[in-house]
Assembly symmetry: C2
Homo-oligomer: 192 residues x 2
């Protein structure tokens, strides 16, 4: 248990090819040879804005309350609750991107940002990765975003996390993971 | 706080068009008109195996230990730790799919499966959804999978979750969320 795991030899990439491409997405085929000699062709998805990464922020409006946004989700064609998030602009650190997104999406900046973990969306076929940050010591500052309609901002008590988890409009895996990561840190802070 | 949220009027889908397509993926453009009259074109990603959905399973090998698998992830080109998962085959319930995936990936079936929550991967641009199940009362039964090389199976203590979360090869948002969802249920079971 919790042993150091043995090193694995990565498969060799014999060839890659672009299969399909749009403004935002590129589908790539990947010819692989595994270390046991087995050959396979996988498909993977690349963002067309490589290397930039993204951020998601759990904003604490006071020590017992966090802010959620509600916005239209085109993938599922419904309104979803989740944490503010966005792409890191060129030249920004994750913390700078987080602060800008907070100003755009909830009209607040943060004096304290803690980078909790980087989460992958679906490492089996996507390179997409997101820094998950906890934001404290907020202050009012509004930047204009590019949303088609105003976002709903919803304050939620840390004492009612179960109720949030039971909602069928709070389902994004990264928001669920972010909520638990934040809860863990908040508990540690309150215990000390 | 925790108020019933007001109903939102969904944007109207004026037109959809396939922009790019491969064996596994289809990129679609979506012309939308929001209820305030604002028009936007979004891109979204559809799986080319519609409506089937997927499962991820947290398998408890005893009351204090769960099993992880380690496998090659083509999206990030590294080996990742995570929970067993897979696509629901036609005609299967989520529970049947979970049981089959467990037999293929860790050589165990489960007598007890609890459907904890459905998680979306990235609702903003994907319809992909995954049932997250907790599996108890395991018994040995092996089915052949289609993996290019044998999966590593790793047993991990529920008392060492922090160590797992700190690893940079345990990053998939759905596995992280699944771990916390399972922990929450296990705590409730142990408290009663």
């Amino acid at each position: 248990m919790n042993k150091l795991l043995p090193e694995k030899q990565l498969p060799q990439i014999l060839n890659t090819e672009t299969l399909a491409e749009s403004r935002l997405f590129r589908v790539e085929s990947l010819d692989l040879e595994f270390s046991n000699g087995e050959k396979r062709t996988f498909e993977r998805l690349r963002g067309n804005r490589p290397g930039r990464g993204a951020v998601m922020i759990v904003p604490m409006v006071d020590e017992n309350t966090f802010a959620l946004i509600r916005e239209y989700a085109a993938g599922t064609h419904n309104y979803q609750l989740g944490f503010p998030k966005g792409i890191i602009d060129i030249g920004e650190t994750p913390e700078q991107a987080a602060n800008r997104e907070l100003k755009e999406e909830i009209g607040m900046g943060a004096n304290k940002l803690i980078n909790m973990k980087s989460l992958a969306m679906a490492p089996g076929y996507s390179s997409s990765s997101m820094h998950i940050l906890l934001a404290h010591s907020l202050y009012p500052e509004k930047l204009d975003g590019d949303e088609p309609e105003p976002l709903d901002i919803i304050h939620w008590s840390v004492n009612n996390i179960d109720e949030l988890l039971q909602r069928d409009d709070f389902t994004e895996a990264r928001s669920v993971a972010a909520l638990f990561l934040a809860q863990q840190i908040l508990k540690t802070q309150n215990d000390t």
